[in-house]
Subunit: 196 residues, 2 copies
DNA sequence: TGTACATCAGTGAACGCGCGTTCACTGATGTAC
DNA sequence: TGTACATCAGTGAACGCGCGTTCACTGATGTAC
């Protein structure tokens, strides 16, 4: 409305981007669309963001930080339980986040538009990873695995929870039925223990 | 070259789409780009494909079929081994396919541009899933799980291998380091058995 | 406290680009007789 | 076997659209004196 000096346009644009992302998906996003949603001229964003990729990178930083916080919060809530139970519940929190913010989750792990050279993004993504592996550690310690085995096991745990989340939200977002797990509750991981 | 009646333009366009996908990624794809790559006027594709989504859906069908064939071939090769060994090796074939055709793999599991109402796509995707679960079956039978447990276990197995592949190729395509497993060889799944 | 001025953070018109789509057209192919 | 004609499968010019980017501009804000 002709208001000069918005005050915090950078953040307003990030909020707008998030809203558009949730409404129309990643392909509905453009700098012009964000500007329009924020009620600002379409040339305004260039002052704050070099490109759409830059804006999305900043949005991904926010996403990773919220993601890390969600895992951390869950972990704190179940601090009195056994290592394996804690692991199960934090993994469920991972899946819950993906279900609550499917578009944001997809953005976090979509390669194309993000600038992974960005220092802040690198840092936030690394923190999320550390948060997850930190949670798996007590389980390993209880079993006494060596360094190499531990890294492999970390990768497998991360893979199972990430894969489950990915398959579910892909299914939610697109198809109706054909494939993919249908339960939003991650099965008990000990099932794999029985099996393998 | 002014050649009228190409003969098999539909397939030529699919090949072109695949080449462009591998070169420039999914965002470099457009009907015009495919037409240009196939050496044909930019209006020609409309005769064969309603939209870019339609073309990509057909490409995804090809991808799913190749994927299924790859798993099947591996499975046949290791038919003399134990159920668990066969499972491990077919899972590795899953990862190998994702590494060999990262862009195609991403397309197969990317929701947005594909038409999952398409009958052929549904069918090909379902076959791929059946191929995978069929391979897990002998392992379950050896352990005597009931129906419900078996479905859950199938989902978990699929998740771990899909997650591993996704995380690796995301890392390959985009970032350099920050997160994600770095080995292209899937760790021994029995590790999870020891752990959970 | 008031005035002058530099700087900040917007506006809105204009540009070129690649996109999908439409359209009148035309060369190649297949079929009827 | 040859000719007439319908149909198929392309061409290339044109259109409108949304995009990012540039540009001269201008209102709001902060600072110096």
């Amino acid at each position: 409305m002709g208001e000069y000096h918005h005050g915090d346009l950078a953040n307003a644009l990030l909020q707008s981007a998030r809203a558009i992302l949730n409404e129309k998906g990643i392909h509905g996003l453009s700098l012009r669309a964000c500007a329009a949603h924020a009620g600002v001229s379409h040339a305004a964003p260039t002052y704050h963001f070099k490109s759409l990729g830059g804006l999305l990178t900043d949005l991904a930083v926010i996403a990773y930080d919220e993601f890390t916080a969600a895992l951390q919060e869950k972990y704190a809530l179940v601090s009195h339980e056994s290592p394996n139970d804690r692991l199960q519940k934090v993994c469920q929190a991972y899946v819950d986040f993906a279900l609550k913010e499917p578009q944001l989750f997809e953005l976090m792990f979509s390669s194309s538009p993000l600038d992974f050279e960005n220092v802040r993004l690198k840092s936030s993504a690394a923190k999320a990873y550390q948060q997850l592996t930190g949670i798996v550690h007590p389980v390993f310690d209880a079993k006494g695995l060596n360094e190499s085995k531990r890294e492999q096991a970390e990768a497998l745990i991360w893979s199972v929870v990430h894969g489950y989340a990915s398959l579910i939200i892909n299914k939610q977002v697109s198809h109706g039925e054909c494939t993919a797990p249908s339960k939003t509750t991650l099965p008990d991981l000990s099932l794999l223990g029985d099996l393998l």
